[in-house]
Amino acid sequence: MSARIQDDQRDTDLADAPLDAALRRVWDTPRGVWGALATVDHKVIGRRYIATAFVFLAFGGVLALLMRWQLARPESRVLTPDLYNQIFTVHGTSMMFLFAVPVMEAMAVYLVPLMVGTRNIAFPRLNAFSYWMYLVGGILLWGAFLVDMGPDIGWFAYVPLAGPQYGAGKRVDIWAQMITFTEISALAVAVEIVVTVLKQRAPGMSLDRIPLFVWAMLVTSFIIIMAMPAVMVASTALILDRLVGTHFFNPAEGGDVLLWQHLFWFFGHPEVYIIFLPAVGMISSILPTFVRRPIFGYLPLVLAMVSVGILSFGLWVHHMFTTGLPRLGESFFTASSMAIALPSGIQIFCWLATIWYGRPVYRTPFLFILAFFFTFIMGGMTGVMVASVPLDTQLHDSYFVVAHFHYVLVGGAVFPLLGGIYYWFPKFTGRMMSERIGKWVAGLLFTAFNFTFFPMHVLGLLGMPRRVYTYQLDMGWGGLNLFVSLSAVVLAAGFLLFFYDAVRSARHGEPAGDNPWGAATLEWATASPPPSYNFARLPVVRSANPLWEDDGVLPVAGGLRVDRRELLVTTVGDALPEARESSPRPTIWPLWSALATTALLLGSILTPWAVVWGAVPVTIALIGWFWPGGRKEEES
């Protein structure tokens, strides 16, 4: 056989074993350090992303314990006020920007290409770049904190406290640049997800057959693309105010301090849904597996997620109800904040109907869904309370709000996420997590969470403001605070057990097999863990639950070349095959580009000239990134 013919070999020409060998040759990540740094495999990057996000979760949790230690007793002097303020700022910033948003995107980086049945995420090099940027942003924040330069102005960084006059030193600049790092990485992933979902779905996966987690990530990615620029504008304006003396936020020079709050919350409220929507997507994808029937209300669920996405941009003012905005405007935002209860309700009702007509199997992921119901719905109810302008004047900035958003974010996002980890862990690693430990983890976290955070509702109503490093003995808050602190220790023990189980199971867990739960979606149609090319032959989809139809035997599409990285591009609506598209090979340039961008951004904390000189290495790195290397992938 001549080399010429081999060049053009297609998957249809080969039997399974030679096809596997041929695909491994072009898709496998090279071994060694270089391979690890240059990889563009969405699964490797996704795993890294998830692991890193959980490390930041653990770090943020340690800070939470330190705060609870300080608050356990009145007028305690465990932490100085300066350290406490750094700790609550880094806790909030870390949990929001380094854990919650990235971990959801990370799950999508790993799962979405598998769930839509393609071989790699769109723009794999951008994906690699986004991980490096995220990692550096996290190291920047935590490194600064460890050398006593952690930001101390809250994760919301209200001006003028964060402005040049009151936020002395470099702490605020570090916060603002950390935002830039994480926003760049979040935006990059969002773009990849949108393109992957719209253009790389398996043939036949029309819009009404997309798994609900993928729908959730599509909506989330659009929210990210529209919301994150607001906070980039805000943080850039803040840096300019601090670095070169612009006066965006200085009322003495015609600026406005409320402008910051508008910009920040125009991003900050959608941010909540950026975290929450992926979680509801996970529930919609996990639930059918454990009640043994398809989800009820696919279309209403999709429409609910889309309308949540749209409404989420009309709520930001409810973070500003006590700033003295005009009554009419406040009333409008009360109404819109209340209105989002409807699409949220629709999702709850559809899940209840699914369970009602299903046959529940009480495995660990399902237990986390039950914990979600109990906890998140309570958070939703208190959300209705803070949406009311008059009530919010009592609740705002008190511990009631701390309780509320932990119920929403932990109950509404972290519980489904942990359920998702237990659910997809076998796909990630090829091994099951322990069912026995998993039940302990779910029980401990659920109980300890409610013991930790429920009393905070009461503390808030008793007048305890947020973000106080201590409180006086005669306020009468001591007993509840001590109870909260002790419960927090149990909560931490639950997380510790989870980490133990994950680390242990990754090496010693039961081998899982391709589809241990008997699930319906495409990620279970390949091996666990999936080979580097995901699917040897691309699946063809004929229903919303492909593995539950036709005895789980999928028809496949053929005709892709096997001598270069190639995947299938399909139409947006009906996922009809359109073209073969090549997918890039590993390269070190995303890492260099991330390091060059890091140098620019870090330098700009010190001098505006860094933006000028720093542009040179960034340019060089980008030229290297796009330089044609004569590889087969670049021929097409």
Binding site: T80, L161, V257, P300, I377, D397, L461
Partner: protein
């Protein structure tokens, strides 16, 4: 009108007897009363919904469906549709209740007492614009006549703060470059504690103030007394203390009317000893606490803007003795 304790809820049982002097659960004015009622209404309705959902979930987990898929989908569709209609009705009801409460709270008050409150890191400057006589300037304590509406004009000198006296009203931010207003009324004489509710820096936790409601006559007498200059030193030690105060840097930041001290960075101390607390609610107003505060303000309230002024023990004694007489 008699104040009825609000109906107790499971929420309140958890904190038996601790609805205190800084609590939204113990309303002592019409504004907080309206908010308290709204709070209880919301909690009852929402708790009922929460329970209902969990009951449905529990039933859903226990039952075994024998319905055909088609029938199941039809029934579920009807149930979900009904639940959505109910959601819309409840949301609309709660929204309307909120509007009504807002109208009640923001109804204009007749002939209110005007008090200007300016927030600074980390204390409150309180000014009573002169009705008859000069302005009264005090700090961290707002005296008001019980039963009369008080219009509080809020401004901020440095960063954003938030004014919150939960027993009397909801909170309102104080924002540089903006003027906000809050109207509150205390039905009965009493002491109500307030605290800054917007994170404002290092000592956000120690930025409290007292609202002291008094019978109208007592308030009028207090106001008249506050308009006077500081009292002349009663004895030799007090006179020495006053001289120390004037000669040391104290006067650069503090005003004591009737002396050389005319600074404006710190609280006006003309009638310092008439206040209930020291250092924005941190310490009781005693001579000992005054001495401790002056000797080492940075240990008591780290990061605050009062420097430690080196004084000999005798000077410290004298200054605190003199300040303790400024009633």
């Amino acid at each position: 009108m008699r104040i009825r304790p609000l109906p107790s809820l499971a929420l309140l049982l958890l904190c038996g007897g601790c609805a205190g002097w800084q609590s939204a659960l113990d309303p002592q004015g019409p504004s907080a009363q309206a908010l308290g009622q709204l709070l209880h209404g919301f909690v009852l309705v929402l708790a009922a919904i929460w329970l209902a959902v969990l009951v449905v979930l529990a039933v859903a987990l226990r039952r075994r469906s024998r319905a055909t898929p088609q029938a199941a989908d039809r029934h579920a569709g009807i149930a979900v549709g009904t639940a959505c209609v109910a959601t819309v009705l409840v949301i609309t009801g709660l929204t309307l209740a909120s509007y009504v409460t807002t109208r009640v709270i923001s109804a204009g008050a007749e002939a209110p007492l005007v008090v200007r409150v300016r927030a600074l890191q980390w204390w409150w400057e309180v000014t009573y614009p002169g009705e008859a006589g000069p302005d009264v300037v005090t700090a961290n304590e707002i005296r008001i006549p019980a039963g009369r509406p008080v219009r509080i004009e809020l401004s901020a000198a440095d960063v954003i703060h938030s004014f919150w006296v939960p027993n009397l009203a909801g909170k309102q931010d104080l924002i540089p470059g903006r003027d906000n207003v809050l109207t509150l009324t205390a039905r009965q004489p009493g002491q109500y504690r307030g605290q800054c509710a917007e994170f404002c820096g290092m000592q956000h936790a120690h930025m409290a103030f007292m609202v002291i409601a008094e019978p109208p006559e007592a308030f009028a007498a207090w106001r008249a007394a506050q308009q006077a200059d500081s009292a002349a030193p009663a004895g030799a030690e007090e006179a020495f203390g006053r001289r120390v105060f004037e000669q040391k840097p104290c006067g650069a930041c503090h005003t004591v009317r009737g002396t050389e001290a005319k600074g404006t960075n710190g609280p006006d101390l003309t009638h310092l000893a008439s206040r209930a607390t020291l250092a924005a609610g941190m310490l009781p107003m005693t001579r000992g606490a005054l001495a401790a505060w002056i000797a080492d303000p940075q240990t008591i309230k780290p990061g605050n803007n009062m420097p430690m002024v080196p004084l000999t023990p005798a000077e410290l004694q004298a200054v605190s003795a003199w300040l303790a007489t400024l009633r």
